[in-house]
C-alpha cells in the first residue's frame, strides 16, 4: 500500500510545483536535493580522513551523503575546478567539459612555461606564474563581484537595488562570466584555447569577464540611492 501512496504524493507535489513555478517564478525551488538536510557532506581529502573524530563530533551520529563520481581522494583533486566543469558543461556532456578544462590547463602551461624558459634573469622567471591551478583560482577570485543588484518593487516601481553578494553566488557569477565571455569570442577557435586566454587575462585583472564585473559594480554604484530599499 505504501508504494502507490508515495507515488501519488510525489505526483501531486510535482504538479503542485509545476503550477507554482508558472505563477510564482521567484518563490518556488526548481531543484530539490535528494538528501534530507540532516545528511552531511562526505570528506574526500585523505589527510582530513586520517584525523580522528572526537566524541561529540556530529559525524559520529548523523548520516553522510554518498560521494559523487567526481569527488575522488586523488591528491590532484580540486573542488573548485569540479564546480567550474559543471559551468562549462552543455547538455550533460561532462567528460567533454572535463576534457576542455584539462586542455585549458595544458594550454596555459604551454604559454607560461614557454615564457619561463625564454626568460633569462631569475627575477623575470620569478615573476612568471606557471601553475595553471593557481592561475585558475586567482582568475576566478578576480572575477568575483562584491555587490549585485536585485529587483525590488516599491510603490509599483521596480528598482535595481544593490545588495552584498553571497559567496556561492559570487562563484556562480565569476565562472559564468568567464565561460560566457569565451562563448562570445570567435566560434571556430576551440573552447580550451579561448578559455586559456580568458583565464590568463582575468589573472592579470584584464579582459572581458573582468569588464563585466566592473560594469555590474558601476551599476551598483549608480543605484546606491536605492540601497535602503533593501529593508
Amino acid at each position: 500500500m505504501a508504494a502507490p501512496c508515495r507515488n501519488c504524493s510525489s505526483l501531486i507535489s510535482k504538479f503542485h510545483s509545476l503550477a507554482l513555478r508558472q505563477f510564482l517564478p521567484v518563490v518556488t525551488q526548481v531543484r530539490n536535493s535528494q538528501y534530507n538536510p540532516y545528511f552531511m557532506e562526505p570528506i574526500v581529502d585523505k589527510k582530513q580522513l586520517e584525523q580522528p573524530l572526537d566524541e561529540s563530533n556530529p559525524r559520529r551520529f548523523r548520516p553522510i551523503k554518498a560521494a559523487k563520481t567526481e569527488q575522488v581522494s586523488s591528491s590532484y583533486f580540486d573542488p573548485l575546478a569540479q564546480k567550474f566543469i559543471n559551468r562549462i558543461m552543455k547538455d550533460g556532456r561532462k567528460s567533454l567539459a572535463r576534457d576542455i578544462l584539462e586542455k585549458t590547463f595544458e594550454n596555459i602551461k604551454h604559454i607560461q612555461v614557454e615564457k619561463y624558459n625564454k626568460a633569462t634573469t631569475p627575477e623575470q622567471r620569478a615573476a612568471i606564474e606557471c601553475n595553471p591551478q593557481a592561475i585558475f583560482t586567482q582568475a576566478v577570485e578576480n572575477c568575483k563581484p562584491v555587490l549585485v543588484t536585485t529587483k525590488i518593487v516599491k510603490g509599483g516601481v521596480t528598482y535595481q537595488v544593490p545588495v552584498p553578494c553571497k559567496p556561492n553566488y559570487q562563484l556562480f557569477k565569476a565562472s559564468k562570466w568567464l565561460v560566457e565571455s569565451c562563448r562570445d569570442k570567435e566560434r571556430k577557435i576551440p573552447m580550451e584555447k579561448k578559455l586559456a586566454w580568458e583565464l590568463l587575462e582575468a589573472y592579470n585583472n584584464e579582459g572581458k569577464s573582468i569588464r563585466k564585473k566592473q560594469e555590474l559594480h558601476r551599476l551598483c554604484e549608480a543605484n546606491r540611492a536605492y540601497s535602503h530599499f533593501r529593508w
Binding site: S74, S75, Y76, L101, E102, K103, F105, E106, K109, H110, V113, E114, Y116, N117, K118, C130, N131, P132, Q133, A134
Partner: protein, 434 residues
C-alpha cells in the same frame, strides 16, 4: 607470555621488518640516487642512504609501535630522492644499456635536418615549450641500433618491424634509430607517415611514365626536400650510372650528379615522383658498390597495403600500390639489395577503422604485406618500465611541465603512473593538466 618468549617474537618481527623494508627498497633506490659524477653506479654504492641508517637505529628500539613509526618515516624519507633522468651521452652511436631509461637531448641542427616532418604533434609542441628536443633511450631502439652496428652489410638488407600498443613510443623509437643513422653516416630514406597519402593526397595526376599508375607530385616534392636536407652531405659525389630521359629536351645524362636529379624534381613537379624512383634505383646501385649504406625507415608501413580514398575512372577505390611513390618504396622493402637496412613500424591508426583490433604485425600488414616483408625481425615496443616512468616524471618536473605540488611527492607520482598505466602517451596526457 614470559619475557624470553616476547624477546623471541620481537626478534622475529624485527627480521620480518628488515626483510620487508631494507632489501628490495634499498636496492632499487640506491640505483636511482642522484649523483653529480658521470658514473653514478659507483657513487651510489659508496653513499650511505638515510633510509638504511634509520633502519639500523630502528632495530635498537624495543617498542614495536615505535619501530613501525620509524620504519614508515624512513620509507617516506627515502623516496624523496632526486633520481637520475638525464644522460650527457648525446651521441646515439655511443649509447648502451647503461643509459637505458634516461633522456638525451638531440642537438637543434639534427632535429631540423631529420625531423622537418615526422615527430608526433604532441611531442613537437612539448619540445617547443621545453626549448629542447629530448628522446628517452629505450630498449627497442637500442636493440635495433645494436643490430645495425654489428651488421654484415654484404648480406641482403635485414628488415626490422617495430610493433606495440598505441602510444607506446614506436615513432619515437624509430626517430632514435634515425638519429643514430644520421650520426653513423647512413643515407636516410625516411617516410614519416605514408598513410597521409592514402587519406588526403594533395594532388593526384596520372603517371607520365606508366599508364594506370598515379603520381603524387606535391608529396614527392616534399619528400625530395626532406631527403636533400637529410643526406646532401653524403651525396655530393654520387653520380648517375645511366642516363634518364624525361622529355625530348630534358634528360639526366650518365655521370651527372644525383643531387641534380633532386633539384630537377623540385623544379619540374610533374616529374617529381619519377625522380624519387630514379633516386631510389640509383642509391640501390651505389649501395651495391659499397659507396654508401642505406637506412630505409617507414612509419606505419601497413598503409602500403591499404585502400586509398582516390577513385579511378571506373569509380573504384585505388589500392595504395597504384601510387607510383608507394610502388617505388615497396621495392625498397624487398631485401634483394645489399648494404643497407630497413626499419619499419606497423600502426593500427594507418589501417581502416574496421581493421584496428590487434597490434601484431601479421594482423596489421595482412597476408600480402606480411609475405612481402617476410622474413623480418619483430621488435616489440612495450610500455614504460617502473624506472622509465619515474624518469619521465622527473624529466617533466625538471622542465617545469608538471606544476602541481602533489607531483613532488611519492604518492602523487604513483598516482600519475597508476592513471597512465605506464603507457608513454597516456602518461604525457595525464601530466598535461597537472
Amino acid at each position: 607470555m614470559d619475557a624470553s618468549m616476547r624477546a623471541v617474537r620481537c626478534g622475529k618481527t624485527l627480521r620480518l621488518f628488515s626483510a620487508l623494508f631494507s632489501r628490495p627498497k634499498t636496492h632499487d633506490i640506491a640505483s636511482n640516487v642522484y649523483s653529480t659524477s658521470a658514473c653514478f653506479k659507483s657513487a651510489s654504492a659508496k653513499q650511505q642512504h638515510p633510509h638504511v641508517q634509520s633502519l639500523s637505529s630502528c632495530r635498537q628500539m624495543s617498542n614495536l609501535a615505535e619501530q613501525f613509526k620509524a620504519a614508515t618515516a624512513a620509507k617516506r624519507q627515502a623516496v624523496n630522492v632526486q633520481t637520475v633522468f638525464r644522460t650527457q651521452e648525446g651521441d646515439p652511436t655511443k649509447q648502451s644499456t647503461a643509459q637505458e631509461g634516461l633522456f638525451y637531448t638531440v642537438p637543434e641542427e639534427d632535429v631540423t635536418r631529420i625531423f622537418q616532418k615526422g615527430l608526433p604533434p604532441h611531442f613537437t609542441r612539448q619540445a617547443k615549450t621545453f626549448a629542447e628536443t629530448s628522446f628517452m633511450v629505450r630498449k627497442p631502439a637500442l636493440q635495433v641500433i645494436e643490430y645495425l652496428k654489428h651488421l654484415n652489410l654484404d648480406h641482403p638488407a635485414p628488415r626490422f618491424v617495430l610493433y606495440g600498443k598505441r602510444g607506446s613510443g614506436r615513432t619515437l623509437s624509430l626517430a632514435h634509430v634515425l638519429h643514430f643513422g644520421l650520426r653513423d653516416n647512413w643515407v636516410l630514406l625516411y617516410l614519416p607517415w605514408p598513410c597521409d597519402w592514402n587519406k588526403w593526397p594533395h594532388e593526384v595526376s596520372p603517371s607520365p611514365y606508366k599508364s594506370g599508375r598515379m603520381d603524387l607530385p606535391i608529396e614527392a616534392a616534399e619528400w625530395l626536400v626532406s631527403f636533400k636536407a637529410q643526406n646532401a652531405h653524403l651525396l655530393k659525389d654520387i653520380r648517375l650510372s645511366q642516363s634518364y630521359v624525361w622529355t625530348k629536351r630534358e634528360t639526366a645524362d650518365e655521370g651527372s650528379l644525383l643531387l641534380d636529379v633532386v633539384d630537377f624534381g623540385l623544379n619540374r613537379m610533374k616529374f617529381a615522383t619519377d625522380c624519387v624512383g630514379v633516386i631510389l634505383k640509383e642509391l640501390r646501385k651505389q649501395a651495391a658498390m659499397h659507396k654508401i649504406k642505406l637506412l630505409v625507415a617507414v612509419d606505419g608501413v601497413n598503409a602500403f597495403w591499404n585502400q586509398t580514398s582516390v577513385k579511378n575512372l571506373e569509380r573504384e577505390f585505388l589500392m595504395a600500390d597504384q601510387f607510383s611513390l608507394v610502388h617505388n618504396f615497396k621495392k625498397m622493402l624487398l631485401s634483394n639489395w645489399t648494404h643497407g637496412a630497413i626499419v619499419c613500424t606497423v600502426d593500427a591508426e594507418a589501417n581502416a577503422v574496421t581493421r584496428r583490433e590487434q597490434t601484431t604485425p601479421y594482423y596489421l600488414l595482412g597476408k600480402e604485406g606480411f609475405e612481402w616483408l617476410d622474413p623480418f625481425v619483430p621488435v616489440h615496443v612495450p610500455d614504460y618500465t617502473e624506472k622509465e616512468a619515474y624518469s619521465c616524471i622527473e624529466y617533466y618536473l625538471d622542465r617545469n611541465w608538471i606544476q602541481h605540488e602533489a607531483a613532488q611527492t611519492e604518492e602523487g607520482k604513483k598516482e600519475l603512473i597508476f592513471l597512465s598505466n605506464k603507457n608513454p602517451f597516456q602518461l604525457m596526457r595525464v601530466c598535461a593538466a597537472k
